[in-house]
């Protein structure tokens, strides 16, 4: 039983990370209809920035805040400089540009900081933090931090004029423009926020998966699965999807272990995590594209 609880708890911690990245994906998808394939690499790059800042002697939380701000600027810049001119380009061009960004961020991180795996510190005190035997201090910290970030985002979108303007720009650009919302800038801000949330996820997960240029590959795949499970057009659904997928991932591995113990037959384990995510992605896309909480889009022909 205790082992089971442990699995759920660590699933929640992973889920928090997936929820963040999935939310970043959904924020861009809702406002521009694009799936940002470079989201994971952007988060990875941000994590390296925070590592560099800490290496220069800053404390963890100062570097954390600075990185989130830098990432915000980075996101806004990418939208303004690279994607804005392609506003009406065909889908394939946009996908190609995202893959280009992915390749650039990945190789630049390798060029600046080398491909060697780096340890990343955890800011959470080891003693008197966490619940003994169930959840470790870092995992609990990850859940708390991401919940705070998600809460802040909720307050921002729900209760501030700017958040309202951003939602309006995403839902109905023409009308928003008519009532004086600067839709272009709202999209850029959305990119900035997405990059910041991704940075938070990267910094939080780096202690667990270690820092290296390819660290976000698997996480991005799980974030895709989360966003799809929750419904890719629904931010709250993406967060829920993140936690669902995080727990599911650990449950599958746990069940695989139990089966192996009981029958001695290996079916599935930690080595198949990405395959599980792939199956979730394809299953949801083909069987229920709207996800659990998404809106069913009816196309008029």
């Amino acid at each position: 039983m205790e082992q089971f609880l442990q699995q759920v708890a660590s699933g929640l911690a992973n889920g928090a990370i997936y929820a963040c990245v999935a939310l970043a994906l959904v924020m861009i998808y809702v406002s521009t209809d694009h799936i940002n394939f470079a989201q994971g690499e952007m988060a990875m790059f941000s994590t390296y920035i925070s590592w560099q800042l800490m290496n220069w002697g800053m404390s963890f939380w100062v570097a954390f805040v600075l990185t989130v701000l830098i990432s915000f600027a980075m996101g806004v810049l990418i939208e303004r400089l690279i994607l804005r001119p392609l506003h009406n380009a065909p889908v394939l061009s946009i996908i190609v540009v995202f893959i280009g960004l992915l390749a650039i961020f990945n190789s630049m991180a390798g060029a600046f900081w080398s491909y060697l795996i780096k340890e990343f510190p955890s800011p959470f005190p080891k003693s008197s933090f966490g619940i003994a035997g169930v959840i470790g201090p870092h995992q609990l910290g990850v859940v708390v931090v991401t919940l705070i970030v998600l809460g802040l985002l909720f307050v921002f979108f729900r209760y501030t004029p700017l958040g309202l303007a951003m939602r309006a720009a995403a839902q109905n650009p023409q009308m928003a423009r008519l009532v004086g919302v600067r839709v272009d800038w709202m999209l850029a801000l959305g990119w900035g926020l997405a990059a910041s949330v991704g940075a938070v996820a990267g910094i939080m997960v780096a202690h667990i998966v270690y820092l290296e240029p390819n660290m976000m590959g698997g996480i991005l795949l799980y974030a895709f699965a989360s966003a799809l499970v929750g419904g890719i057009s629904n931010p709250a659904g993406a967060v829920a999807g993140g936690f669902i997928v995080g727990i599911l991932e650990n449950m599958v591995a746990y069940a695989g272990n139990q089966i192996e113990k009981a029958t001695g037959v290996y079916i599935i384990g930690n080595g198949e995590k990405l395959t599980v995510a792939l199956i979730i992605v394809i299953f949801v896309l083909t069987v229920k594209p709207a996800g659990l909480f998404g809106r069913v889009v009816v196309k008029r022909v």
Binding site: L86, V91, S93, I95, A111, G218, L274, L278
Partner: protein
């Protein structure tokens, strides 16, 4: 015989003669160069496979590395476990990859644009892990992969191994490009392109869109799989981690740089990405030693910048750009 056909024939004859000049110019026509050209040929077959799907049928794939991997592993397992000769692995890989591609094409029918890109992207990310799956370990050799023998020169021909490999790849490439050109120039080819350009109209006119899309997926996978099988023979080694997401990105580079929806573009794209891949190291040395910057330039920085630049400057790729330039020149003269 039309002008362009003459050109192609001339190039093919040239491609057959040049390696024979090795005794005359041993420096220029070295074994290493021939091997490099062989990898370019393999690359252009793989890019052609992707082009058939994306360029001519309008279905996106960011995961063609998966089919390349299936082709390579089919060939490697056949050679390693069943002692099948290398040339017989090519049709075997084609059949296996056609089936796998066709099956993947079935769920892909329900997906459009971004979603298909997403599903294939997910496939590309998961491939190395699938290849390491414990139950397949007996066949695939797990993380270690499979070590093979290089193809031997047949019939006692007076050729070096690399020369023979070059000819073998060249012949396969010519057959495949000839088949692709004929396919595209037929009723089926026109149906494929009609689906790309006007899906609804094609459907209304009675084209079996589902059949064409899935079969195209299969053919495309078979082409890329053949390239994978050739690469297994050429490199004489397969391992899971060489089939990650970046392999699929290379094919995308070849597709976009060469020209989407162009046969010639597939050749140019394949040549291009192998060239950049191979010159990245010397570029890095140039930056480190001559410019004195502590910076390791990876081929992927070049790839990424080029992907974005080409979308801005030459959306039709090199082949499209050349064609436009040619048209302009002709127009100016007339």
């Amino acid at each position: 015989m039309s002008g362009s056909k003459k050109w192609v024939l001339g190039l093919i004859v040239l491609a057959f003669i040049v390696p024979l000049l090795r005794p005359v110019f041993p420096e220029v026509v070295s074994d290493y160069r021939l091997f490099l050209v062989s990898t370019m040929i393999i690359a252009s077959i793989a890019v052609l496979g992707l082009n058939l799907l994306t360029g001519f049928n309008g279905q996106f794939s960011l995961g063609h590395g998966a089919f390349y991997a299936v082709g390579a592993y089919t060939a490697a397992i056949l050679m390693d476990k069943l002692n099948v000769p290398y040339w017989a692995t090519i049709p075997a890989a084609a059949i296996v990859c056609f089936i796998v591609g066709y099956l993947f094409g079935l769920p892909a029918l329900k997906l459009e644009g971004h979603y298909l890109a997403l599903a294939t992207f997910a496939l590309a990310l998961a491939v190395p892990q699938i290849l390491k799956y414990k139950w397949l370990e007996g066949l695939t050799g797990g993380v270690q992969g499979i070590v093979l023998m290089k193809p031997e020169v047949p019939f006692g021909l007076p050729l070096s191994e690399d020369q023979w490999l070059y000819y073998f790849c060249l012949i396969v490439m010519i057959v495949l490009f000839w088949a692709a050109a004929n396919l595209l120039n037929s009723r089926s080819g026109r149906a494929m392109m009609a689906i790309r350009d006007q899906y609804m109209a094609a459907d209304t006119m009675g084209i079996d869109t589902a059949l064409y899309k899935t079969v195209t997926f299969g053919i495309s996978a078979a082409y890329t799989g053949i390239a994978g099988a050739l690469s297994a023979s050429a490199i004489a080694f397969v391992a899971p981690d060489s089939f990650g997401i970046f392999l699929s990105i290379k094919f995308l580079i070849g597709l976009v740089v060469g020209g989407i929806g162009s046969l010639l573009g597939s050749v140019l794209g394949g040549i291009f990405y192998v060239l950049v891949d191979n010159s990245a190291q010397s570029l890095t040395q140039f930056i480190r030693n001559d410019l004195g910057l502590p910076f390791d330039l990876s081929a992927y920085t070049v790839f990424g910048v080029l992907l974005i630049a080409i979308i801005y400057l030459m959306p039709m790729g090199i082949a499209g750009g050349l064609y436009m330039a040619y048209r302009k020149l002709r127009g100016a003269r007339a």
